[in-house]
Symmetry: C2
Subunit: 348 residues, 2 copies
DNA sequence: CTGAAAGCGCTTACAG
DNA sequence: CTGAAAGCGCTTACAG
């Protein structure tokens, strides 16, 4: 539309060379006071800022980051992304957001298309959260694409570590939250504790399930497969998984759910089958979402500090972009937030 | 990191000029079959794709869009954004996401900084949803920045129309949903209907409040200011606004809330004050969020079809980018989804 | 159909 | 401190 002004015109009008204008703009090399003043006046007159494309083309830095994640409508990812984008903006970076999963039940689209897109756009670094990365079985095509990606730019991958992929891996989950949840439910007297939600074949689900099984085994009751009802991460999944659990007629008095979406779905299903949480079923969830303090009942859940985690992840990425090899991988211990859904507030 | 391959190298290895490779890559101009084959082989060998920066610099099209919105953790925006990004990706566009509001209670950051960022990055078009745009009082600085922005690239602005700003304005709200909600509550026998949530001074709040007042006036009972309790759009706001309403000791039997976050907060506040929804208070909300079918009680709310709306908005933007002047502004009538929160399922 | 050349708007050695 | 020049990796008239 409007013909935009360029550094050449600024130079002409200021009576200096483009090189000097460039130096003024970048502020690294000293420029004499009088030229500085002249340039500044012209720059201000036109409200000039340099073309980031031209700048990126020659300097090999675009001040641009890419984030690839499954589903921004999932509060877990939204919270992390928001923090990532905020910190990035503070450092002067713009960030692309690429979703790979759009509707509950739909197959996710291929992430590697985004890899290509981001490489072409010459982003300075990429953050991948979950998705194919988090599958227990990685396809060779995905691994190859990831290799290629991380060979050409810094990649921070939040999820399961893939040996030899050349990314900086950050693990967000070690299952300790589930252990805490299990033990807390045990301490309230529960013996038959079910596990609800999460997609089989995904690392985070398997990790949490593993912790659950270990805790169940340690409790002396042993692992009971009929108390495990997997599905996926959304509300309808929680609903269905809870219904499936109920239909088995296996006795249970408590459940651990994969996240707060699943928890809401499960609570709803229980209610529709005449079971009240926490009166009939105690519930503890993972990945505390923003609404957890306001549901009926308030959720008791494991807080994974996703906001702080997002900050840490983006800082790691920016450091990698800026050439640091240091691997500032601080982890935050998950924290049990007591609400009402496990019924402990009813006890004395 | 890895030195990337360029069109020049592809040309050399294929034994053709860079111009021919470029033509092959763009597929617009015919290339002879044998050269095509040779180039194709080399391109495939290196898995070559052109540098989007260089391409954008010369062609003036970056295949990049910018989205500026208040808060991606708000399900309303997340749903819209997701649809925008999906459609954009289908058309080959990458999209930047810029948040302006990060924490409940924090002041939003200045959007005009993002305007600059997006202009520098030479995005092909920008979508602005809400934020300062939606304030009843627009600051001169904002208006000037918006003018400048829309003078240099296509801008689709979802929110209140600002005369002379040069944007394509799309209105998402005419208050008719609130009218529907009010009338429905009336038909259930409610006389004292309150309005809860929403930030004063924001167009969407004022528009809905206006509809509420009109409906109240039309009902014969008149507008009662003590039944209006504004605040903001988040859960804690719904909670506080509901508490404020209760504390006034003005009788009411039903409420209309600004959105489903506010609804959840309000329901929670009512519960904490011994009021059950829908037994003691009937509730209808706006901006149906994804969890509305799973809360206790299930929410009755006005569905604004934000997914379809997002599709329409991004298509309008892409058309504008591609030079269309047509203003494909289809609107979807809001739809009342009956859940349980207004208690109609209890009546016979 | 095709190549040589100009040019997009910058940055950065290089030589003063 | 400063300018002329080369160059980033492409596209696109222009002339065949």
């Amino acid at each position: 539309m409007k013909s935009t002004i360029t550094i050449t015109q600024i130079a002409q009008e200021s009576g200096v060379s483009v090189a000097t204008v460039s130096r003024f703009l970048n502020g690294k090399v000293p420029v004499s006071a009088d030229k500085k003043a002249r340039i500044e006046a012209v720059v201000r007159k036109y409200d000039f800022t340099p073309n980031a494309l031209a700048r990126g083309l020659i300097s090999k830095r675009t001040m641009t980051l890419g984030v690839i994640l499954p589903d921004i409508t999932n509060p877990y990812f939204a919270t992390i992304f928001q923090e990532v984008q905020r910190c990035a903006a503070e450092e002067g970076y713009s960030v692309y957001l690429c979703n790979t999963r759009f509707h509950h039940g739909d197959a996710p689209i291929d992430e590697t298309g985004y890899f290509r897109m981001m490489m072409d756009k010459k982003v300075d670094g990429i953050l991948i959260i979950g998705g194919q990365l988090d599958m227990v079985e990685i396809t060779p095509a995905y691994k190859e694409a990831l290799n290629k990606l991380s060979a050409s730019l810094p990649v921070v991958a939040a999820g399961r570590e893939i040996p030899g992929a050349g990314c900086i891996f950050i693990d967000s989950e070690n299952g300790s939250g589930v252990t805490t949840a299990y033990n807390y439910l045990s301490s309230l007297g529960h013996k038959d504790i079910a596990f609800v939600g999460g997609q089989p074949g995904v690392t985070i689900t398997e990790t949490r399930l593993e912790s659950y099984k270990k805790a169940a085994a340690a409790s002396g009751r042993g692992v009971r497969e009929d108390l495990i009802s997997l599905s996926d991460y959304y509300l309808p999944d929680g609903y269905q998984a809870a219904e499936a659990l109920i239909s088995r007629n296996a006795p249970f008095t408590a459940v651990i759910t994969m996240n707060d979406n699943v928890a809401l779905g499960a609570i709803r299903a229980f209610a529709d089958h005449g079971l009240s949480v926490p009166r009939d079923v105690a519930l503890i969830s993972c990945d505390r979402f923003y609404f957890a303090d306001y549901t009926i009942p308030r959720l008791t859940s494991i807080h994974h500090h996703s906001r702080r985690w997002g900050q840490m992840v983006v800082r790691t990425l920016i450091q990698a972009v800026q050439g640091s090899t240091e691997n500032a991988r601080i982890t935050f211990p998950p924290e049990l937030i007591i609400g009402e859904s496990c019924g402990s507030h009813l006890q004395h």
